[in-house]
């Protein structure tokens, strides 16, 4: 199947679809280094509130943030399906993102993507910055995360 899709369109990308509550989010697969189960997190005092702490991933210490807290949602309860997605924006500095569930990997072409309109939900401006678009897939909508904006905090936003 992969071969077939590769031949079809070039500007098609693969996304990992994760769930937070009822909403689906897509993360560009090229940033994903690993997906691990929930494990013991060591709290880091005085860190940003959405950082849960650090974990030990095969000898590396990796900070872990809660996507729910980052997006202002209710703090998660850890379930069997909770996962930590290890993101690597640049080599040598990985970061973990806690999500409720990892659904699947989808291919989305630019035809199936819509740009986010900034004035659509003016009240929720903050959250929009974290999105790079909305993808349509199997009658469902996937909010594509602008992962760099999610991870790298702008100074202006005091916690």
């Amino acid at each position: 199947m992969a071969e077939a899709t590769e031949n079809e369109i070039i500007d098609e990308r693969q996304y990992i679809v994760v769930k937070l509550g009822e909403e689906q989010f897509g993360i560009d697969i090229k940033y994903v280094d690993n997906i691990v189960r929930m494990q013991r997190i060591t709290r880091v005092p005085k860190a940003q509130h959405y950082f849960k702490g650090v974990i030990n991933l095969r000898g590396e210490v990796i900070p872990v943030m809660s996507l729910r807290l980052k997006f202002g949602l209710k703090e998660e309860e850890y379930k069997n399906s909770t996962r930590i997605i290890i993101i690597k924006l640049e080599p040598q500095s990985a970061i973990g993102i806690i999500v409720d569930e990892v659904r699947e990997v989808v291919n989305l072409s630019s035809d199936n993507m819509e740009k986010v309109q900034y004035d659509a939900t003016g009240a929720n401006d903050d959250k929009l910055r974290y999105l790079s678009g909305i993808g349509k897939h199997n009658n469902g909508l996937i909010s594509i995360l602008n992962i760099a904006n999610v991870i790298i905090e702008k100074e202006e936003r005091a916690v």
Binding site: R40, T42, R43, V44, P45, K46, A47, Q48, F51, G53, V54, I55, N56, G59, E60, V61, I62, P63, M65, S93, A94, I95, I151, I152, E153, V159
Partner: protein, 699 residues
């Protein structure tokens, strides 16, 4: 031939030679008659020249050559060492360093000719020795100038331009009775692979002797960047006919013109040639070596430059390691394997019935080996601080002139070893502190005399090991820091209020100096006083995990003390428990551990202190600082870990002690807001992550 693989070695060795030149020049200035020093200088300059030539850095070579000329005149007693001469030589050294750093970054030497320095050198040379300076340059001229007279148009070698070092090589070869041929080769115009033909010619020539010069350069010829002719100068013991025949043996060669570049020696040569054959064979390697160097220099430059364009930072950071240290490492690794095998045999032996005592034995063995291994690896990374501080005497000499103050630098403990990464970073802060001491610390000479101090100011740089730290003191015997002046300035600048100034201790005031943009120098000088200073020093040193503090006695001088950790990656730590979280406190800052009854807690300015054997120590409630849920009921006594930073002490209140552990420090990444209290994280034996508390920030 590609010499870029030798670039690292070249850079290392050049650094050493430049340093040695600088050191000995300093000595020479003080003791102009010291023969050993002059010889040492000459040797270093000579090796520098040779190395630069081999690597194809011709500008660098030219400069060193001219410097060497001066040294050689000094050595032979034709010139005396004067201060202005040393100045020029130092300028030359600076220029060499400039070349070196350019080479380090781009692997080419750049385009700066440093003509002014060379001119100055030659001027000094002439002034000091009269006509003699001209001699080496003029000697080859008769050969060159006699040539045009008989030059036919096709004998292009008659008009070939020679570099001075090439002339020297030719001169030397002549003295050793080698033939010097100028050869112009014409390749047939219908030749397709002219580069290949040219290559074969070179190969043939190199079997006969040494090619010292080629026009166009060998690299260009290899790239087919020439018409149908090329010209070379060959040093050989063979006769003209033999050479000519060898060249014509290569097919598609149209014509060969060849002649001796000097005519006068030829007859003797012919007559004695067979007799001298044996003798010359012996001489040849020695004579050929510089010639070869010169010949290789040209093609070498081109690949090196091409490489530079492709990748910018060419030079890897390397450490030179004593072979003994590596042997120790090797031994330890083999022991590690033995220990592993021991464990396997204990584990698999006697089916399921593990022998506990031999198991423990193996664990102990393993521990011993890993401890030793750690120590050795750290040792490999260690370098004596000398490599940084050795350039400082020169710095002080320059400042002497610039500031017009007489001062001297006294250094001790140059052999103290520090981690390589620290060594790389510590140079700038130290230099800054020295400048500070020279500019602000020391008074002017007149003032010193008035104060009844010796006219010449002294600056001391002392390095020594103190437990797990290395301490570097930068001390001057100058005026000291005027506390009141600093206070006034701070109030003026709005850094502190007057009320604050009242209650500040002297130490607090001195700490103000480390704040950003705080300079008390009345006038901005070339040397320092721009207010970007001590704060940079402080942040740099803190970045290395160390700290810096200042002590001063008004009228007697100032001491800046830098404290640096000996090792960076692996430390011994005290593991403590707070609530259900584990934290590590580096053992080198832990003084003692005390059990303090709650009734012993006193209050000073409403903060908790304890009086421990006569010392008042502030208490730090770690659980509050680290947001750990406090214990439900206050116990009767507290476990207090007394930590120190310099002479200051603080008591950290913890819930429980776990024990001592060897931990590997890991960064917690840049994304997470890192509080300064947490210096990193460590992975414990059970895979859990524990944070490391930087006790220095809590004291």
């Amino acid at each position: 031939m590609d010499v870029s693989q030798y670039l690292d070695i070249f850079i290392d060795e050049t650094k050493e030679h430049i340093q040695s030149l600088s050191d000995h020049l300093m000595i020479l200035e003080k003791e102009p008659d010291n023969e050993d020093t002059i010889n040492e200088i000459f040797r270093a300059a000579h090796s520098l020249k040779g190395m630069a030539g081999t690597m194809g850095f011709t500008r660098m070579q030219r400069l060193t050559h001219d410097m060497e000329n001066v040294f050689s005149e000094i050595r032979s007693g034709n010139m005396t060492v004067k201060s202005n001469l040393v100045d020029i030589l130092f300028r030359g050294l600076d220029a060499l360093e400039e070349y070196l750093s350019t080479i380090q970054q781009t692997s080419s030497e750049g385009t700066e000719d440093n003509e002014d320095i060379i001119n100055d050198l030659n001027a000094v040379l002439q002034e000091g020795t009269g006509k003699e300076a001209e001699k080496p340059a003029e000697q080859p001229k008769p050969a060159a100038s006699s040539a045009p007279a008989s030059a036919s148009e096709k004998e292009k070698f008659r008009s070939i331009k020679l570099q001075e070092y090439e002339r020297n090589v030719i001169e030397k070869a002549k003295n050793e009775n080698q033939n010097v041929f100028g050869i112009t080769v014409y390749i047939a115009e219908n030749c397709i692979l002219k580069a290949a033909r040219a290559f074969l010619v070179f190969k043939a020539l190199e079997e006969l002797g040494e090619v010292v010069k080629s026009e166009p350069e060998i690299q260009d010829i290899e790239d087919e960047k020439f018409e149908f002719d090329f010209t070379v100068i060959l040093l050989t013991k063979n006769e003209a006919d033999a050479v000519k025949e060898a060249i014509l043996n290569v097919s598609e060669i149209a014509e060969v013109y060849l002649d001796k570049l000097t005519v006068d020696e030829a007859p003797a040569e012919v007559a004695q040639a067979p007799a001298q054959e044996e003798k010359k064979k012996e001489e040849k390697p020695a004579a050929a070596a510089p010639a070869k160097a010169a010949a290789q220099a040209k093609p070498a430059a081109a690949p090196a430059k091409a490489g530079a364009e492709k990748k910018k930072a060419v030079v890897n950071r390397s450490v030179r390691v004593d072979i003994e240290k590596l042997d120790v490492l090797m031994n330890l690794v083999s022991e590690l394997i033995i220990a592993k095998n021991g464990l396997i045999s204990v584990g698999s032996g006697e089916s399921g019935q593990r022998n506990d005592s031999s198991f423990n034995e193996q664990i102990e063995y393993l521990e011993r080996v890993t401890t030793n291994l750690h120590e050795s690896v750290m040792k490999v990374r260690m370098m004596p601080i000398e490599s940084v501080v050795s350039k400082f005497p020169r710095l002080i000499r320059d400042l002497n002139k610039k500031l017009n103050k007489k001062m001297e630098l006294f250094m001790t403990g140059e052999e103290t070893e520090l981690d390589r990464t620290v060594i790389d970073e510590i140079g700038d802060p130290l230099m800054h502190l020295l400048r500070n001491a020279a500019d602000h610390g020391l008074e002017s000479n007149e003032e010193r005399v008035r104060m009844g101090k010796p006219e010449v100011g002294s600056i001391f740089l002392d390095a020594y090991q103190d437990g797990n730290n290395v301490v570097i003191d930068v001390r001057d015997d100058g005026a000291g820091i005027n506390i009141e002046k600093v206070k006034k300035k701070a109030i003026e600048k709005g850094t502190i209020t007057e009320e604050q100034a009242e209650s500040m201790t002297d130490k607090d005031v001195i700490d103000l100096l480390f704040r950003p943009s705080f300079s008390t120098a009345e006038k901005v000088s070339d040397v320092s006083g721009r207010g970007v200073g001590l704060d940079v020093v402080k942040s740099k040193i803190e970045g290395l995990g160390g700290d810096v503090e200042a002590k001063t006695v008004l009228g007697e001088g100032t001491t800046f003390t830098i404290r640096l950790p000996l090792t960076l990656a692996i430390i011994q730590a005290l593991m403590v428990e707070l609530g259900n979280e584990k934290y590590a406190i580096p053992l080198n800052s832990v003084q003692t551990i005390e059990d303090v009854p709650c009734t012993d807690i006193k209050y000073v300015q409403s903060s908790e202190v304890i009086n421990l054997r006569g010392t008042v120590i502030p208490l730090v409630r770690l659980d509050a600082i680290l947001d750990v849920a406090p214990r439900e009921e206050e116990p009767e006594s507290l476990t207090v870990v007394i930590v120190s930073k310099g002479e200051k002490l603080a008591g950290l209140v913890v819930d429980n002690l776990i024990g001592q552990n060897e931990i590997v420090i890991k960064s917690i990444g840049k994304y997470i807001n890192n509080n300064k209290m947490i210096s990193g994280a460590a992975i414990l034996g059970d895979g859990e992550v524990a944070l490391i508390i930087d006790a220095n920030t809590l004291v």
